[in-house]
């Protein structure tokens, strides 16, 4: 370890021009085809919508501070939780990691100059922003009160909200997601550097490959469903409203055929980040690389055949319920494989407690709780008791916030120096990771109990005896809010006042660490040749002598 600083201070003179300073005009950002700049555009927009969705979450928790419906009356409350859901799901959780970290890192990790289709990549950001604009229009006009699930026939016939505009927004954002997935799949197939075989790919790339499969095969189904829903609302005839012969259960089937796999779109990239963090901060090859890689694919495949567990109480046949219940247990296996392998990687690893690792360890605990309570809900019999209660709300927030957001924040901290070339304050980073972990548990753990006691979701009022737990929950929301706002300050601060970061501050073997921080527009001076396995910390990684380092980085011509 003693030579890290020595190596970092000596390595290749940092290039004067990098992807950030090769143009300052607005046009150089808005018309860029550089995957790194597009990733930064996404980072800013996705984080903005995360904050907006968070404000709506705050309103929900404030309303639930008291048993009566006082801050918001029921109709407004419906619109607030719908806005929270729509913004968080479509504008934050789905694009969060793939479009920011995935976009930035996949070409770097596989040794490519860019994604296979840079213009399509830029188009996907514009689609995202257009969809967001349409959804924002709907919100400003008065919002929607259907919940983010748009269940028919309420959405087609009775709701007074702006269902069509919101649906159109989701439709457009869906295509941005499809294009991102398409780009990733092609890039991983054709753009890998010489020597970068499939089984030398970082697990982050495997996770994104699996995610992209779901994006391509799932998203179009919800797109056509939302289109049919909007047409039905406009034309007053269609296939979902039972009053005119339609089938509302068909809507639920089509909707969840995408929207359950969408959960894996949210969690798989985060699992990819966690694999990187655990292996790199244990300075050890990940335990069972192939199993972790294939478990991502298994989750993507099996994830497509479990959607019926959202319909246990909707009038789906009981036999279908049984099969879906069984399949739900099956999809838990690859997730468990990952969790066990991460834990086994920690064993006898040389663990360091940097901020990203704190987020990763937080993820392990929270995802464990979220995953196991998922099994409660996947059990058809128990689900009848817990369906539509706060138990569900707590469960999926443990996955979405405890899983995806922890991975998102952990990843941003881990690669911040690579993305910006600056170091953030490690002290404040650690404090924020702890505050997030504590605030999160205080916010959502009481909701398991509330749900088990029977408190239903999506109501603005509740019986007085449930107030104590709700106060805990709202208090937790405030703590979590503070935890989320802290990084905004110290990360932005680091952009201007942070210490210049080393190219490879932790001396890690990944390709992204073998180029400058921030990288040049072409990513590498010349196409790298990969001669080492993923997470190779031994002699073969060529990290330990400066000479070996230079050899790996030498032009290949």
């Amino acid at each position: 370890m003693q030579n890290i600083d020595a190596i970092n201070s000596e390595i290749i003179e940092r290039p004067a021009v990098n992807y950030l300073n090769n143009g300052y005009s607005l046009k150089s950002w808005l018309l860029t085809r550089d995957h790194k700049r597009i990733a930064m555009l996404y980072l800013a927009s996705v984080s903005f919508f995360f904050m907006l969705g968070g404000i709506f979450a705050g309103l929900i928790r404030l309303e639930l501070l008291t048993p009566q419906s006082d801050l918001l009356e029921s109709a407004s409350y419906n619109k607030v939780f719908t806005a929270h859901g729509v913004i968080m799901v479509f504008l934050f959780l789905i694009p969060a990691i793939p479009a920011t970290l995935g976009n930035f890192l996949i070409p770097l990790m596989i040794g490519a100059k860019d994604l296979a289709f840079p213009r399509i990549n830029l188009l996907s950001w514009y689609l995202y922003m257009s969809g967001a604009a349409v959804a924002a229009y709907a919100l400003l006009q008065g919002g929607v009160d259907t919940g983010w699930t748009f269940y028919a026939p309420y959405s087609t016939t009775f709701s007074n909200g702006y269902v069509v505009a919101t649906g159109l927004g989701a439709f457009i954002i869906g295509f941005s997601s499809i294009l991102t997935g398409l780009n990733f799949i092609v890039t991983v197939h054709t753009m890998r550097a010489p020597g970068m075989t499939w089984f030398r790919l970082p697990l982050f790339v495997w996770a994104h490959y699996a995610t992209s499969l779901i994006m391509i095969l799932g998203t179009p189904v919800v797109a056509i469903t939302i289109l049919l829903l909007a047409l039905e609302r406009l034309a007053k005839v269609g296939i979902f409203d039972p009053a005119i012969g339609g089938d509302p259960i068909l809507f639920q089937h089509l909707f969840w055929f995408y929207s359950h796999p969408a959960v894996y779109i949210m969690i798989l990239p985060s699992m990819g980040v966690i694999s990187e963090l655990i292996a790199n901060f244990s300075r050890k090859r990940i335990f069972g690389y192939e199993f972790v890689a294939f478990s991502s694919i298994a989750i993507a495949v099996i994830g497509f055949i479990v959607w019926g567990h959202h319909l246990f109480v909707s009038g789906q046949s009981i036999y279908a319920g049984l099969v879906f219940s069984f399949l739900t247990m099956v999809v838990a296996i690859p997730s468990a494989v990952k969790t066990f392998n991460w834990t086994a990687t920690l064993y006898k690893g040389s663990i360091s407690w940097d901020t990203p690792m704190l987020y990763a360890l937080g993820f392990l605990g929270l995802f464990l709780v979220g995953g196991l309570t998922g099994l409660f809900l996947g059990t058809a019999g128990l689900d009848i008791h817990l369906s539509d209660t706060y138990f569900i709300v707590a469960h999926f927030h443990y996955i979405m916030v405890g899983g995806t957001v922890m991975g998102y924040l952990g990843g941003i901290h881990f690669w911040w120096s690579k993305m910006t070339g600056r170091e953030y304050s490690e002290f404040w980073g650690k404090v924020s990771a702890m505050v997030v972990f504590i605030g999160f548990n205080l916010l959502f753990f009481p909701q398991f109990i509330l749900g088990y006691m029977g408190m239903p979701r999506r109501y603005a009022s509740y019986p007085e005896e449930l107030q104590v737990l709700n106060i805990f929950s709202t208090a937790g929301a405030s703590v979590l809010g503070v935890g989320f706002i802290m990084p905004v300050f110290y990360l932005v601060h680091s952009l201007f006042f942070g210490k210049k970061a080393a190219d490879n501050p932790w001396l890690l073997p990944g390709l992204e660490w073998r180029t400058a921080s921030p990288p040049i527009t072409e990513n590498f001076e010349s196409t790298p040749i990969v001669t080492w396995e993923a997470y190779e910390f031994g002699e073969e990684s060529g990290l330990h002598t400066e000479e070996a380092r230079r050899t790996t980085l030498a032009p290949t011509a």
Binding site: A112, K113, D114, L115, A116, F117, P118, I178, G181, L182, N183, I185, V186, T187, H189, T190, M191, I216, L217, G218, T219, P220, V221, A223, I224, T225, L228, L231, A235, K236, V237, G238, I239, I244, G245, G246, D247, L250, H253, L254, T527, A557
Partner: protein, 293 residues
């Protein structure tokens, strides 16, 4: 020596090679995988509609047979032939692009465009017939006939089997019109109606023409959604062809670089194949039951 070095550094850069790729092979492979992924996405997009078709066909087979009987099988068959031939001319366009034959390419693309436009023209004729007959499922999108101005409905080539001929066409609000429940009656008499169908067609225990009409309307809703979405893809395809035509005319595509022609060809064949599924599902299946042929 110096010239050698510079020749080495600025190695041959083929026209059409984008900056992110190392060579034409890599670019070609990326385009190909990308297009197939896009088509996979398209299959899932249409898949939602096919699922809806499947669900409602299984639920209300008689209503679907009644609706299907009223589609024009001659226009439908003719259009199928037109589209298959257009796939041939498209495949030839790719072939001539690979051989670098400019005028043959241009000719094949023009033929493909003519055939594609013919398909859309026929579709417009069929849609217009539905508009005139009052069987567009959306209220207000049918021909409006004020009271007292009743006219006989327009016959479509020998396929008119509804009871609409029996009374004057009177449709002031442009509503969906369907009075003929004879097929359901026939199935009822033969004991073919399933319990799901009875639940769908009966009111107060007897066959109800209005409830049957609502189910036929679902068939037409699905018909218009599927063929409409398909027609939209055809229009996008024609746009692609127009762009290709311009580039091919300029002589862009040669034996070394013909990827855009090949990719547009894949898209065109895909749209063709969707129709190959739509045609039997919408026009053919179930016709034999009470179809009179």
């Amino acid at each position: 020596m110096a010239t050698n070095v510079s020749a080495h550094e600025h190695h041959y850069h083929p026209p059409g090679l984008q900056h992110q790729f190392e060579d034409m092979g890599q670019q070609q492979e990326s385009a190909s995988i990308g297009m197939w992924m896009f088509l996979a996405q398209e299959i899932m997009f249409f898949g939602g509609l096919f699922t809806a078709y499947l669900v409602f066909r299984a639920k209300f087979p008689m209503a679907f047979a009644a609706g299907s009987n009223h589609l024009d099988i001659y226009w439908g068959t003719g259009n199928t032939v037109v589209l298959i031939v257009s796939s041939l001319t498209m495949a030839l366009a790719v072939h001539y692009a690979q051989l670098g034959k400019r005028m043959a390419q241009v000719l094949c693309i023009i033929l493909t465009m003519i055939l594609g436009a013919t398909f859309l023209g026929v579709k417009a004729v069929e849609y217009t017939a539905k508009y005139n007959e009052g069987i567009v499922p959306v209220t207000g999108l049918n021909r409006r006939t004020p009271a007292g101005e009743a006219q006989a409905p327009v016959e479509t080539a020998g396929e008119h089997k509804t009871g609409a001929t029996e009374h004057a066409y009177h449709n002031p609000k442009g509503e969906f019109q369907w009075t003929d429940a004879s097929l359901a009656k026939k199935a009822e008499d033969a004991g073919y109606l399933t319990s799901a169908e009875k639940a769908g067609y009966y009111a107060n225990g007897v066959l109800d023409a209005n409830k049957f009409r609502d189910k036929v309307r679902i068939f037409y809703w699905i018909y218009f959604a599927m063929t409409g979405l398909h027609a939209l893809h055809m229009i996008v395809g024609l746009g692609l062809m127009a762009w290709l035509l311009w580039k091919a005319w300029l002589g862009t595509y040669t034996a070394d670089y013909y990827s855009p022609v090949e990719m547009s060809g894949l898209y065109w064949h895909f749209v063709d194949i969707v129709w190959i599924f739509l045609f039997p599902l919408l026009y053919l299946l179930g016709r034999h039951f009470g179809g009179g042929h």
